[in-house]
Amino acid sequence: MKKSILGITMAIIVFMLVLTACGGSQPSSGGTSSKGNDSGKQAGQSGGDSAQSGGTVKIGALGDLSGKSALSGKFKKMGIDLALEEINAAGGILGKKLEVVFQDTQGTQQGAVGAFQKLVSDKDIVAVIGSIRSTNVQATDSFAKKAGIPVAIGGTNVGLTTKLGDKWYFRFRPHDGYAAKSIAEFSAKKLGYKKIAIIYDSDAFGSGGKDLLLQNYKEMGIEPVAVESYNTGNKDFTPFLQKFADKGAEAVNTYMTNSEDAGQMVNQIHEKGFKYQLIGSPSLAQEVTLKISGDNLNGVYSVNDFAADQSDATIAFVKKFKAKYNETPDVYTAWVYDALHVFAKVINEKKSTKPDDIRDGILAIKNYDGAEGNYTFDANGDGLHSYSIVKVEGGKIVTVH
């Protein structure tokens, strides 16, 4: 009797284990490259007057004004509208009014591809502001190549500009490789730590980041004292923390996918009284970690690609944004605001809307102070090359570098 009870119990346990494994855990914040989607519900037009193409210059934009990412789409549209207003107030483009044509992606990849095709089939559209999602950027690649007009992108997967070989893609956010570079340089050069340990999530994001970190440290001639991996959703970090202490680590770099895990680890570091400095990927300093760790989080550093106080240009942008919308802009807004301004600037300087002229103009941009960062485009079409460093002080996330 009891034999079969335990037998069946075991079977159910195995079944539950499988279920749990399949359920997996979704990365929450700060995780991987491309967070939101773009949006654009009504295939409507915003700004500008009616579509008399003689009187306007048209730029297209993908947006997710409907679907599951409608909020990020709303922020994207607000960023674009603000830039549009400023450009037209300053005299427009080539003496004409600038007009932005939105196409809705409905928050899906198929929707993004469809919307993108619609935009580039309009011969009056001279450039497009694309998606912040790496998968969407990848999906629209062949259409962008075919259309042959400049596309601003916000996905941060490294390969989007280096591997696709799409000469029409221009990235207005720093890619993931720079996050690792910023973490390594800040830890070793700015803070001067020599004994550095690394803890990373065993998933694609974490192990990819770990490889980039190791590569950066190798170039600096630094050998991390310990490199440890854990599984997403791990509960007990103590053995790793103890190992770091034993190896004499002064600083620990984190490449953690979930902010939940990061917060938990910070609490355990505090509880066990370990003293090393934490410098990590964006998941480390987020609202979620602040919620979990509270004061324990004070003093940690983390990289971040948009913080409201990161530069004078950003502060000015945030001020204007707040005045217009009475909301605080986020990562979805700044890069599109910059992209539209850059397109307008280049077209005005080149006095041409020919794709090749715009491309040359963008590639020639050096030290352009935008809301998202300071742009200098390289041959791959990457405009930004570093992340800001933020620090948690008194329960607030502030930019320090």
Partner: protein, 292 residues
Amino acid sequence: METTFQLLVNGLAMGSIYSLIALGFVLVYVAVNVVNFAQGDFIMVGAFICLSLYSNGIPIWFALIASVLIMGIFGFLYQIGVYRPFRSRSKSFLPVMISTLGASMFFQSLFLVIYGPDPRSLPPLIGGDPIQLGGLPLPRQSLVIIVFALLLFGFQFFLFEKTNLGKKMQATAQDPETARLMGINVAWMNGLTFVYCTALGGIAGILLAPLFTLTTTIGSIFGLKAFAAAIVGGFSDAKGAIVGGLFIGVIESFSAYFGMGAYMDASAFIVLVLFLIFRPSGLFGEKIGTKA
């Protein structure tokens, strides 16, 4: 030396949590012949109740005591709703087991609706930097967990070996028919077993919540490890559950340190498999297959 000490303290603290949950598994199993799948979820329920009380301004120690009492009542209602309706349904144990499995899923979904997916945290019972003991730092919450567990183990021993009530519960577990003939109210004794085990789970949850982020699924992984601990201990008595839990906790702590990082969770189950192969009776139990 310091490392060994730290890993040991950490392992014992984790193991204490496993032990408390494993105790719940074993006592219910021995008493009513059912593996209660919701045992792991009791830690989640207990911790969330404590969190609710605490965030409404009740001091943490009072919140702890109140939550344990509430958990006791919860356990009583649990056995009325989940165990009793199926108790006498045919001779099969399966309906009850499925019922507990359903309850586990129900609790997880219910608490997800109430508290949302954001992870929460409880404050430590005694905050502050680690206590220094002859140059060795002792993390306070780990210490609190271990001390609490020791007290509860002591209470367990006292209750079952020294009091009339405990003896009645034991007698009921060993032979319900004879116990009934001796005038023991078997239904009440079984109910009390559930109350006791639910409260144990609740305490475990409140003890670990300051160290681990509290989500509605936290019960699953702790429940599974505690189940492994119960098997390693023999699945037959309290002593086995306690030692099994501590054993699994310490093994995990050391295996993660010595290079098994990403396989830390797996180590508990590797131990389980080794035990099932080489010592199926567990550390203390009778051979699982032949148990009467």
